[in-house]
Amino acid sequence: MTTSASAALTKFAANLIERYGGVVEERDGKVLSLLPADLAGLLELPEEAVIGGEEAPLIYGSPIVDRIIRIATDDVPVVYARAEVQYLKQAGFETVLAQDLQLAGMRSTIASRAETVANYLVLVCHYVARSDERKEGLVQVAMNERTCAHVPGLETLWRDFQVEPYPQGHIPPQFDSSPDRALHQALQIAREISATELQAFVKGMRRRLHRDVKSTREYYAALQQEMEADLARPNLSQNLREKRLLKIEGLPDELNAKIRDLEHKYSVIVEVTGRAALRLLVPVVQLTIRLSYRKLKGTLSMIWNPLTQRFDPCVCTQCGKTVRQLWPQEGKTGLHLVCAPCRESAR
């Protein structure tokens, strides 16, 4: 274990103990700690313990580290907070809008502007890919809870701002008590991101599968050739000949079974699970944009986000995909704004 990894682990242990009401002192890579009775019980340590010492070594995979990790991940933390923003944009929206949104073939004018508050959700997902080895990681996805648009970058940018969590039991009514749609959309995006992160892993598995399948096929092809050549031996009895023919006929089945074994061995199961969430109220500027396309008219609401310093992306009214390019489509209820694939499929 590297020194930095060791230091990070020590720091993590100390933080956890403090969080659960313990008193700690870090000394020489060890955590001298006074543990509350509950925590001592969970950690299976005396109330006065040296974590990182001989009795409780802080090494990855050691029982004490396992217990600390278990305690920290036992619950699914959902934090409710408000981001404090020093400055909200007042003018020059046209330029930013032109950069952040493409309205294909439509005329647009800003009809109104208002300062308001928008809800965001940062979902932390844990993914585990299991094949003949395991790979896991965390992905974070930020969503606008109302529009269900994915807001790339927000999952990290919120840390640059002052974020004030609401006191226990004081969740403001602006937070929807069941933001299922936003959560499922976020999970879908987390799945896509994890698929990208797992590309190398999958590639490795594919390479191994191909290598093993190829060599297995080569073996069976050579075996078949050898067995067929053996049939030409003059002193082979009819009985033996038939037996061998039967064996030769069975080779493709045997090969297929071996290949299925390999496919099973290298198949990948990816589990993406939501593990934590941050729900943020952010002061934003909301613009109402008036749109016209041929004889059709409509409006579009856009949110300028001070954390990303951009307009949030929009959502296709047909498929719900997050986009920054919208196409007009005539619907029964007037002008619909759709993404390029939806427009294409409707044509």
């Binding site: 990894a5 990070a8 682990l9 969080r19 090494i59 990855y60 995979g61 029982p63 396992d66 990790i69 920290a72 991940t73 619950d75 699914v76 933390p77 959902v78 934090v79 409710y80 979902l123 932390v124 585990v128 080895e133 395991r134 965390l138 969590p165 609401y166 226990q168 039991g169 969740i171 008590s177 698929a195 999958v202 594919r206 599968l209 073996y219 069976y220 092809a221 050579a222 078949q224 050898e226 006929e249 080779l251 493709p252 045997e254 297929n256 079974a257 299925r260 074994d261 099973h264 061995k265 990948v268 199961i269 699970t273 939501g274 593990r275 934590a276 969430a277 390019q325 390029a340 294409e344």
Partner: protein
């Protein structure tokens, strides 16, 4: 005829307007194509490669010379990872004459061969041969020859299989599923363009062997299967937390994130199973072996450590590690029948894993239920029978472990065929002697693990076995290199596991007249009841009675009391007679001899007994003779056991223990062991010895065995001590020797059968001599195999 000026003007106007219309149409078409191109580029940039490919194909249908569209189409299929579409587009490009130089075309031809598209391949190779650049420059002769060889092959395959043979899977067999998230299953033939129909369903036709006369299709040159990927997504934990208005502070949020990140640092280098193991401290070579098997061999290996170095521990660690990481859920351990119980115990006691075994009643009662258990230890002899074969091979196991895998050395045996037919993901073969008689046995073992790793049998014999010398390998370095990719073999010298020697002393105690009559009476009762096959007394009960009589008269009396209520009047009267006789024996001559020995030995010593009644008998005798002692048996609580061991460590000279009482305790601070009685199972004797003859023992170990002259234990000792020198063998070797016996029964069953089937003394002596001879032969065979393995592998396969 001259036209009227008006007519001329009309025609001219018509021509102009037609030209205008054509220009407009052309412009519209171009715009349309540019639209497609724009959409294709946008889709590509958005990562929607299916769509980008669709647009590119539309452009190419109209303008095949649109090179940007070709690039976009090829890039899109590459990103999609769809080899079939990739191939189809390349063939299309080749047909348009736009593929590039002859090298590209030649590669495409080879690709067509790989896909069994022989007609296209032949066509391409023919066109390559026409290419003037092929036949110029350095190396032209070889180039042309290469292309011709490929062309000939493609033409030959066309004659055998027709233009193409697209599917490796025989009719009716299951096609592996395509992944949901990765690649679509669309396929297009190389003979057709991937037009808008690129999204049409696969047009694969199963053309496997239909009649027995037809040669089985060759198994090479097929499309390689793709990885199956399954995604599962779950947000319920977060949804529940939000619905229940559970509110966390930011610190908990950050700690959870950090905790997850720390938990990912655990790779196979860090064995998660170590803290979960009980009653065992894995040695460094065992840990390294587990790591190597998982990291380098990816869970498929031969574990060929020398005897006694802990292959079972290594296999158990690998299995537990995979289990903890969620990579394994089901397992099958196949062992010789005599080791089924031992495996079950080790997996339970050391790894905390509960396996169903072929010794369980379930195995006899409900076969289907038994074979559907997730974790199974089964006797390979039972599993390979026609009754079980289909049940074993009809499912897939995440892990299969075969112990004593040298029994798979012959590919014609049912065992080999069974293991070969089992579907498995991870696979461990355990054997201390991978090669027993001939080098080609290695081929059978390796082939079952990794077909083709040592080529075919013929190829292996030609390359690696010296002609006429089946025990001498050729091309040793090459063979070693190949074996190193799948095998670990740790040796004592490398692991530095050298223990001090051990010596055995056997004392045959002459029984008093009463003791002798009592023992003979018990023996006669057992022989009589066994021959009568009395349903009220099981064979097991009779064996137990004889074992008890060999231990002490007190143990025999306890067992006889249980038989006093049997219905058979003859047996009941004999039992009553024996009870009366045994009550008069008193201390017993064996006890007196042991008491003398204990007084004469100054060091600490352990006295092992097999029966609790014998332990009580000895405890009384020790008290009577003022011998300080402490007691350890399975009935004590954990703390009491630990206290007894601590007392013994701190100076109490005698530890009186049952075999089960001593389990899990390291008693190597003591070097003298007294077997007051003798278990009939040699493995149990080894386990007793193993309590003190283990790592950490610094003195030579002395083992004192006691038995009554003429008893069954006397004969067992004769066989084990005099004939195969069991007490001086390395731990584990007895097992190996017994494994070389042809008999599948347990050792204890064999001796009991000899005892009950041979009433006369002469017959008994002859039967035991014959048994000794077979054991001696087994030992010789084992020694031969050991020498051969040492010669073949040496110390080159250690971790």
């Amino acid at each position: 005829m001259a036209l009227h000026p008006k007519e001329r003007k009309r025609l001219k106007r018509q021509k102009v307007s037609q030209a205008k219309r054509l220009r407009a149409e052309k412009l519209a078409r171009m715009e349309h194509l540019e639209d497609h191109f724009g959409l294709a580029v946008d889709s590509y940039n958005d990562g929607d490669y299916e769509r980008s490919l669709r647009h590119a194909v539309k452009i190419l249908e109209k303008r095949p010379n649109h090179m940007d569209a070709w690039d976009l189409a090829l890039d899109s299929v590459r990103m999609l990872g769809d080899r079939k579409k990739h191939f189809a587009i390349l063939v299309w490009k080749w047909r348009e004459g736009l593929l590039g130089n002859w090298k590209d075309c030649f590669s495409l031809g080879k690709l067509a061969l790989d896909r069994s598209d022989y007609e296209v391949a032949a066509e391409i190779f023919e066109s390559v041969l026409q290419d003037p650049f092929l036949n110029t420059g350095w190396g032209k002769k070889k180039r042309v020859e290469d292309v011709r060889t490929y062309l000939k092959y493609a033409q030959a395959m066309m004659q055998v299989y027709g233009a193409s043979r697209r599917n490796v899977y025989p009719a009716g067999s299951e096609r592996p599923q395509e992944s949901s998230g990765e690649v679509s299953a669309n396929g297009t033939s190389g003979n057709s363009r991937p037009t808008a129909g690129i999204e049409s369903p696969p047009t694969q036709v199963a053309t496997g062997p239909e009649t027995p006369q037809e040669p089985a299709p060759p198994v090479a040159f097929e499309t390689l299967p793709d990885i199956m990927i399954e995604y599962k997504a779950d947000a319920n934990l977060v949804i529940d937390a939000i619905r229940q208005c559970r509110q966390a502070d930011r610190r908990s949020f950050e700690l959870a994130l950090q905790a997850y990140k720390h938990s990912f640092r655990v790779s196979f280098d860090q064995l998660l199973c170590l803290p979960t193991l009980r009653n065992v401290e894995p040695l460094w070579h065992q840990q390294e072996t587990a790591r190597k098997v998982m990291k380098t061999f990816r869970g498929r290996a031969i574990l060929a450590d020398e005897v006694g170095l802990g292959k079972t521990i290594e296999a158990g660690m690998i299995f537990k590690e995979y289990l903890l990481r969620g990579l394994v859920r089901t397992a099958l351990v196949l062992t010789p029948s005599s080791l089924v119980g031992q495996w079950q115990e080790e997996l339970r006691d050391k790894f905390g894993l509960e396996f169903a075994t072929s010794n369980d009643p379930l195995f006899r009662q409900d076969l289907d239920r038994f074979w559907s258990q997730p974790l199974i230890v089964a006797s390979i002899a039972a599993a390979r029978t026609a009754r079980h074969f289909d049940a074993v091979t009809s499912r897939t196991y995440d892990m299969v472990i075969v112990d004593e895998a040298h029994h798979l050395r012959n590919h014609r045996t049912r065992s080999w065929q069974l293991v070969n037919a089992i579907r498995k993901t991870f696979f461990l073969l355990l054997t201390a002697t991978p090669v027993q008689n001939r080098v080609d046995e290695l081929f059978n073992l390796v082939t079952i693990l990794k077909p083709g790793h040592l080529e075919t049998r013929k190829g292996f014999l030609e390359k690696f076995v010296a002609r006429g010398k089946p025990t001498s390998p050729r091309n040793r370095e090459l063979l070693k290199g190949l074996l190193k990719e799948i095998m670990v073999r740790n040796t004592r010298s490398v692991t530095q596991l050298r223990l001090p020697p051990r010596f055995a002393f056997t004392t045959r105690v002459t029984a008093t007249d009463l003791e002798q009559r009592f023992y003979d009476g018990v023996s006669a009762l057992v022989t009589h009841a066994a021959a009568k096959a009395n349903p009220s007394i099981t064979r097991m009960a009779l064996r137990k009675l004889l074992e008890a009589a060999g231990s002490s008269h007190r143990a025999a009396l306890g067992t006889l009391e249980k038989l006093a209520t049997v219905q058979d009047p003859e047996i009941r009267s004999r039992v009553e007679e024996l009870l009366a006789m045994g009550a008069g024996i008193g201390t017993g001559s064996k006890t007196r001899t042991v008491l003398e020995l204990l007084k004469s030995l100054p060091d600490r010593k352990i006295v092992f007994v097999n029966f609790l009644s014998t332990l009580h008998h000895l405890r009384d005798a020790f008290k009577q003779h003022g011998i300080r002692h402490t007691v350890l048996h399975g009935g004590l609580a954990q703390a009491e056991k630990a206290a007894a061991v601590e007392e013994f460590r701190n100076g109490v000279p005698v530890l009186l223990a049952t075999g089960t009482g001593g389990e899990g305790y390291n008693l190597q601070f003591c070097n003298i062991m007294i077997n007051f009685d003798l278990p009939w199972n040699p493995m149990e004797i080894e386990q007793r010895i193993g309590r003190i003859h283990r790592i950490g023992q610094e003195k030579e170990v002395q083992v004192y065995n006691f038995c009554a002259a003429g008893s069954i234990e006397d004969h067992i000792l004769e066989v084990l001590d005099r004939k195969i020198n069991m007490f001086e063998l390395v731990v584990g070797e007895v097992d190996m020797i017994l494994g070389h016996l042809q008999d599948e029964r347990e050792f204890s069953d064999m001796v009991f059968s000899i005892w009950t089937n041979n009433a006369g003394k002469d017959d008994l002596r002859k039967a035991f001599e014959a048994f000794s001879d077979s054991l001696k032969k087994a030992r010789l065979a084992y020694n031969k195999a050991k020498e051969l393995d040492e010669k073949l592998f040496g110390e080159d396969f250690g971790v």
